[in-house]
Subunit: 131 residues, 2 copies
DNA sequence: AATAGATTTATACTTATTCTAAATTGAAAT
DNA sequence: ATTTCAATTTAGAATAAGTATAAATCTATT
C-alpha cells in the first residue's frame, strides 16, 4: 500500500483540490473539472477523492453539512464555519495536549485524534450585520 | 416560541431518547417506538426529533457518520467515538476558554461554540485487542 | 356542533454517495 | 508488435437519510 498510481483522472481531481481555496465538496470538484474541460463520471470523482484520501494526499472533512468537503492541507488543523454565509476557515491553534490527556483519563478510551468544528460569524458577515 | 406542545408522538419520542443510553439515531428511535407498541410515520419521528431539538429538550449530534444521533443531555459536553465498535461516550472535560479566545483572534470570527468529536478505542475494545 | 389551526400520515421527492457490470486502459510478458 | 490481465473508468441503478406535500385527523375554542 505504498505506491501511488496517479491516473489522469486522479491527477486532475488532485489538482482541483490542491488549487482550491475553499474546501470544495465532491460536487464543487466535479464542476471545476468540467470548467477545465474534463468530463469524468461521478463515480470516478468519488473514487478518486477516496483514493487520494486513503493515500493521505488530501483529507476528507465532515463539517456537519450533508456533503463532505476535501482539503489539500494534510497538516494538523481544525475548521471554523460561518453560521451565516457558510465560509470555512482554517484553525491552526492547536488543541492543548493536556485536554486530550484529560479526556483519555475521563473516558478510559485510548485517544487518537480530535475533530473540531467551531461555529461563529466571519468578519465580513459581522460587518454586514452592523448595516 | 416559549410554549411546548407535547403530543402523544412527541412525548413517546422524547421518552425513547431520554431513556436511551447510547445516543440513538432516528432509525434507532423508530425501532424502539415499535418495540413499545407504537407505530408512527417516519416523518413524524423526524418532525418530533426536530421539534424537540428546537425546543432544546434534546440535542442533535453530527458525529461524522451518515445519520444524526440524538442526546437527551443538553448540558455542554462533547463526544468520543470508538473506532472499532462505534460506541459513543460522553466527554465532560470542557474545552479551555483560552483556546476559543485564541481561535477568535486567529480567524477574526466571532466564536459561538465548538463541536468536538474525539476518535479512539474504548476500554472493552482495547481489552479484546490484547487477546 | 362548527370552525380553524396544528399535527400526523402516507407517499413522493431530493441529495449525497456507493454499487454493479460492462468497457477501456495500460503495463508487463511474450 | 501482439497478447494478456489486472486496475480503472464509465453509465446508470441502487441505497440511505432526510425533507416536502397534500389529504386526513386531532384539539381547542366559540
Ligand atoms: Mn483546512
Ligand atoms: Mn452526549
Ligand atoms: Zn460569513
Ligand atoms: Zn469499542
Amino acid at each position: 500500500m505504498k505506491t501511488i498510481n496517479l491516473t489522469t483522472q486522479r491527477q486532475a481531481v488532485y489538482d482541483v483540490v490542491r488549487e482550491a481555496e475553499d474546501h470544495p465538496t465532491a460536487a464543487d470538484v466535479m464542476n471545476r473539472l468540467v470548467e477545465r474541460g474534463h468530463s469524468f463520471a461521478y463515480g470516478t470523482v468519488y473514487n478518486s477523492l477516496r483514493y487520494l484520501t486513503e493515500k493521505e494526499m488530501i483529507r476528507e472533512l465532515k463539517l456537519g453539512e450533508a456533503a463532505s468537503r476535501y482539503d489539500a492541507r494534510t497538516d494538523d488543523h481544525q475548521h471554523i464555519v460561518c453560521e451565516i454565509c457558510g465560509k470555512v476557515g482554517e484553525v491552526m491553534t492547536p488543541m492543548p495536549e493536556e485536554w486530550m490527556t484529560r479526556v483519555a483519563e475521563e473516558t478510559g478510551y485510548e485517544v487518537h485524534e480530535a475533530h473540531i468544528v467551531v461555529e461563529g460569524v466571519c468578519a465580513e458577515c459581522r460587518t454586514k450585520r452592523k448595516k
